[in-house]
Amino acid sequence: MIRFEGISHRYGSVQALREVSFGVPQGSLCVLLGESGSGKSTLLRTVNRLVEPSAGRVLLGGRDVAGTDPQALRRGIGYVIQSVGLFPHRSVGENIATVPRLLGWDARRIALRVEELLEMVGLDPGTYRDRLPGTLSGGQAQRVGLARALAANPPVLLMDEPFSALDPGTRRGLQAALRRIHAGSGKTILMVTHDVEEALALADRIAVMDDGRLAVEGPPLEVLGRHAPATVRRMVRAEVLAFHRLAALRAADSALPGPAPGAPVLPEGATLRDALLLMLGHGADRVALMGEAPRHVTLAALLAASGSGG
């Protein structure tokens, strides 16, 4: 859906991007991971032409974006930024209606769409539609930001550190909402973050940026596996990375047959990280897995699966 072909960009004397090439398949949620200054935001902003690269081209659905009208291009791409950027003089509903209005939708259609979107991001339309952005909490504001980006049903969504300024609980809530929306809509999402845990929780592909270069790109466990690139190891300690990797592994895949009497019970569909947390919480070295046949996960099996034991 999105293809970067040899993208380079300079800001004055700073080389922000160096020959970046990769593709984001349709319907995937690709996370651009990197430290601050690695060029990930700049790369994201080349897609909706907020940045015009000095060299290379960006293809969107097979078309070079450089040949499109930037305003029309942007209206067809959702865009969410860390500081949200809601218009403080307009109500929540009017903020969400921004792009549909630019596109000339009729009032009835806009009103219905605003209602639908508020429900989609988990805000009660009756309560929130007429509030001003200044009265919202950070999490509520970003939910509105997400709704505004989705308003005209764009096939592509760009998100620049959308949840980084939120507290952990709020962030998890929004991540869950985004996962739900992604699963339900099949949109192509390109998201920038520096949070490895967030990348593992959301991504089906991860591209790691380092000093303007693409360090590695692929499925999460491959990219953040034991041979994660140096830039990832700089960002997060190996043992923490190993812990987060457990979140991408299903407990059922490492389960052994047979009951585990007295062991705490893990819900079906849980990850190995949940299993480890449960063991830690109960001081147990095994947990039983809910399901038809008796199964359990041992600490040894967990270590083997994570790849950190051997």
Binding site: N48, L50, P70, Q71, A72, L73, R74, R75, G76, Y79, I81, S83, V84, G85, L86, F87, P88, H89, T98, V99, L102, L132, P133, G134, T135, G145, R148, A149, L158
Partner: protein, 246 residues
């Protein structure tokens, strides 16, 4: 709403006082027993008020027509390099009092409203220019970034995001401009502009403190009334924005 009603009542009182002033012979003679003709009757106070308002507000209109576009240009990407010129004009005008500007314009434009209008436009344009530029510069960067990302054209960003957000600052600039303009118009009486300052000047020239008092009273009252009216306007526009702070 209550404040608007009070203001309306005060405007009526002001107009009533203008009507009563030339008829209050007894009051003025009691206050100024030594003055032989203490009641200003050369012209109707309403004529003076009318030309004072016309001159001040015309100047503010012209000034706004010049200053707001200039302030917008000075905050665009291409125009930003000319921002120092604005600061320079401001610094220069600050060291010259309006009365000096009126006086200097006098030999060029002759007696009457013209030199006053020139000085008026100049001094009303400066606060408007500054307010436009600083109001636009204070628009939050994230709202602008979002507007760009959502695909608003430069004109749409200006009209739908920047100007509405700069409105409170613009209105306070307008308030300063009107205050300055009313005051400078009064000074313009020395250059022959007809206005509420005329009785003051004529009273000072003819040693008639009664004229001075009458002119000064109405000039001051007009200035305070206009200031309050504009304050009300700003408060009304601000009430929606006020929820932001709450």
């Amino acid at each position: 709403m209550r404040r608007a009603a009070w203001l309306g009542a005060e405007i009526l009182a002001f107009l009533a006082a203008l009507w009563a002033a030339p008829r209050a012979e007894r009051l003025w003679s009691a206050l100024f027993p030594e003055v032989s003709r203490p009641t200003y009757q050369q012209e109707s106070w309403f004529t003076l008020l009318g030309s004072h308002l016309a001159l001040s507000l015309l100047a503010v209109l012209i000034a706004a027509a010049l200053a707001v576009p200039a302030g917008i240009l000075a905050t665009r990407r291409r125009g930003r390099r000319f921002r120092p010129v604005l600061d320079a004009v401001f610094a220069l005008a600050q060291s010259l009092p309006p009365v000096a500007a009126v006086a200097v314009a006098l030999p060029l434009l002759g007696f009457g409203a013209a030199p006053t209008l020139l000085a008026l436009v100049l001094y009303a344009a400066l606060p408007l220019l500054r307010a436009t530029a600083s109001g636009l510069e204070a628009v939050p960067a994230d709202a602008l970034e979002a507007a760009r990302g959502l695909g608003l054209s430069p004109f749409q960003r200006l009209a739908q995001v920047e100007l509405p957000l700069a409105r409170p600052v613009l209105l306070s600039g307008l308030r300063v401009a009107v205050t300055l303009s009313v005051a400078t118009t009064a000074v313009g009486a020395i250059a022959g502009a007809r206005c509420l300052g005329t009785p003051i000047i004529s009273g000072l020239a003819n040693a008639n403190p009664a004229y001075v008092l009458q002119g000064a009273l109405f000039t001051a009252w007009l200035a305070l009334l206009l200031d309050r009216a504009l304050g009300l306007l700003a408060a009304e526009g601000g009430s929606r924005m006020g929820e932001l702070v709450a």
